[in-house]
Subunit: 390 residues, 2 copies
């Protein structure tokens, strides 16, 4: 008798890519024999994990049956928790997104945010209904450093929390699935690797510039978190022109690169005494004026781009990525790209490719979907042998 253990996993793993396959195809893909594949497929159909998906006609020989992942194999939900917006998405086990929603963040503090997140997850599960089976995993993207326990996070100023706090526990009480928490920038990096510009890139960095600034690093396809979950905290880079710590107000040890976020850009804007025409009141307006050719606006944008260039040059000297993806509300503005590239080329001995995010606002959410799917699939593969095996 055949296992449905290691071979079952191989077959299921092959079918998780959502492409239906015939048994001979599965045999050559897994390099198992056809009898073994038949046995495994029979068991997986019995368990309800895969289903018949019609036959293939038109070629000589007996018609083979296609098999694919059962639609009821389960689904995952991802949440991107931002200071301004909450985003939710749901996808089936093959990764096809079947629900999306966006809401303004109402209220601050872990408790209120958790409550709103739980409601959004509930509306996602309601929308999906029973047709996709059960909810297998929830991926949560949030700004701030995630501790080693995978539950606590700190430095999430955007969410109105300064100290360490726990977003997971209040969620677990209201959600019937394991929850994976990860930093939003790290997830944006994984998102770009899954469905963005870093498709086949093993070693790259995602530079997110929004209200603040942060970098997500991927090495040989796996996330670099650092010993304290602080890898990619480039706000703490000592850069040329930066003011030594202790001589700065407010942000603790954060260095010059912190000024590259929207806060910093607006501060630089305020510092300008005169402005030709109407003074921009947001970073978007500043970029619009720069695009329209207002010299003062172009100056600020150039200065910003140089900062980002120095940040990337530092990353190259340490990490030497093959590609750097620029993202975040500020960072993904294409106006920055030429000066960023020039600056990096001037400093780095082996300049990486530099692109703006292919996923835009959805990068972190896509990454959260990815980690949720990964975890759910791994659990599914383990579960194949677990229950009893037959």
């Amino acid at each position: 008798m055949v296992s449905v253990d290691s071979s079952g996993r191989m077959v299921l793993a092959a079918l998780l890519d959502s492409v239906p396959m015939t048994r001979p195809e599965l045999a050559s893909r897994t390099s198992l024999s056809r009898p073994t594949i038949s046995e495994v497929v029979r068991r997986l159909v019995e368990i309800g994990l895969i289903v018949d998906a019609g036959v293939r006609r038109g070629r000589p020989g007996r018609v083979p049956t296609y098999y694919r992942l059962a639609p009821t194999a389960g689904y995952v939900v991802a949440v991107d928790v931002g200071g301004d917006n909450l985003r939710v998405a749901a996808a089936d086990m093959s990764g096809t997104v079947c629900f999306e929603q966006r809401q303004a963040t109402r209220g601050a503090g872990a408790g209120r945010v958790a409550a709103q997140v739980a409601r959004m997850i509930a509306s996602a599960t309601n929308a999906v209904g029973e047709q996709l089976g059960r909810l297998r995993r929830v991926g949560v993207s949030a700004p701030g450093a995630v501790h080693a326990d995978g539950r606590t996070m700190s430095a999430a100023r955007n969410l109105g929390e300064d100290g360490p706090f726990d977003l997971i526990t209040p969620l677990e009480a209201r959600v019937d699935a394991p929850i994976v928490l990860e930093n939003n920038v790290n997830l944006a990096a994984l998102g770009e690797r899954w469905r963005g510009h870093a498709l086949d890139v093993a070693t790259f960095a995602f530079l997110a510039v929004g209200a603040g600034i942060g970098m997500g690093l991927v090495h040989n396809g796996e996330l670099v978190r650092g010993a304290h979950g602080a890898a990619g905290e480039v706000a703490y880079l000592p850069l040329p022109g930066s003011v030594p710590p202790g001589q700065r107000a407010g942000r603790g040890k954060a260095q010059l690169a912190d000024e590259a976020g929207a806060y910093g850009v607006l501060a630089a804007l305020d510092a300008r005494r005169s402005w030709p025409g109407t003074r921009p009141s947001s970073v978007e307006e500043l970029f619009a004026q720069a695009a329209a050719g207002v010299p003062a606006a172009r100056d600020l944008v150039e200065a910003e781009a140089r900062q980002l260039g120095l940040t990337i040059a530092s990353a190259c000297a340490i990490f030497d990525p093959e590609l750097v993806v620029l993202g975040g509300g500020v960072g993904r503005n294409p106006l920055l790209l030429p000066t960023v590239r020039d600056t990096v080329n001037a400093y780095a001995p082996f300049p990486p490719r530099i692109e703006t995010s292919a996923l835009g606002e959805a990068a972190s959410l896509t990454g959260a979907l990815f980690v949720a799917l990964q975890a759910a699939r791994a659990e599914l593969l383990r579960a194949v042998s677990g229950p009893d095996g037959g």
Copy 2:
């Protein structure tokens, strides 16, 4: 019949740690049954990879036989190619060093260096003789960036080569074993992880400060090379006070951190117009005067330590290591440590542990031994199933 395939590898892998083991011990270690272990051991003894190592007396019960790796299982040789010195070491498959030698580097250029290296390898193999079996692998440590092909390297100014050059091909003609080439700083990092201060540390950095400066990064136990083999090239870090590229003479794009090497320190020394007492003519003398309390010398050492601190702070902002090991002729001087630590603590939000190298001058050589051993062991494990299997 038992495989000597997967189980054979498990047994051999257990015995590679050089600790002799009895068959019951092997059984519990590999979680295989005693009959299986007996069968596997019989085959490995037949092949000549392991040998009887006496019996254990003194405990109740039948006396068990110890087995260990055969002394004739082979050996590896490591070479550390430096601008001033060549070092060679040989070790048996269990990692016990049984030969060491040092020579001044005579002549420059790939050709001459390769010839001298080949002679040293030959003297190592002669010293070892036939008693350890055959030479299985040679590990070579060299300054400079190793290309993706694992053969070519560039930027090895210390060896009198500027452009890319190939040290491996001329060696292969004179050495009867596969050769592994790796950057000396990367190898120093691996050395510290194998037999130094980073024993159980998964994510750390080795900062080498000698003539130049370079960093070796280890993430989850594996080397971070970067997309162009340029990870850890911290000479290119843009730091506070650094002069933009193009405004500097000589070293291309290299930034301020380059001044942290011995060249830079001596340049700073020369820039001082007056000096109390006899002006030091080497970095060693400078440190000696600083230790003796000469204020000007202390100033220079402090400045150097601050540079290193900023470099490490940059690495923390990007990579967030758990530990940083200071090495190299300049870097391992303990006089630097307090100021380095203070500077890092001032800048980094999560300061890593900082230690001076436990292996000193031998760090790179130890790392070269390690990669040679790793490669030789992997090949040995593959070979167990290869030849025929019985």
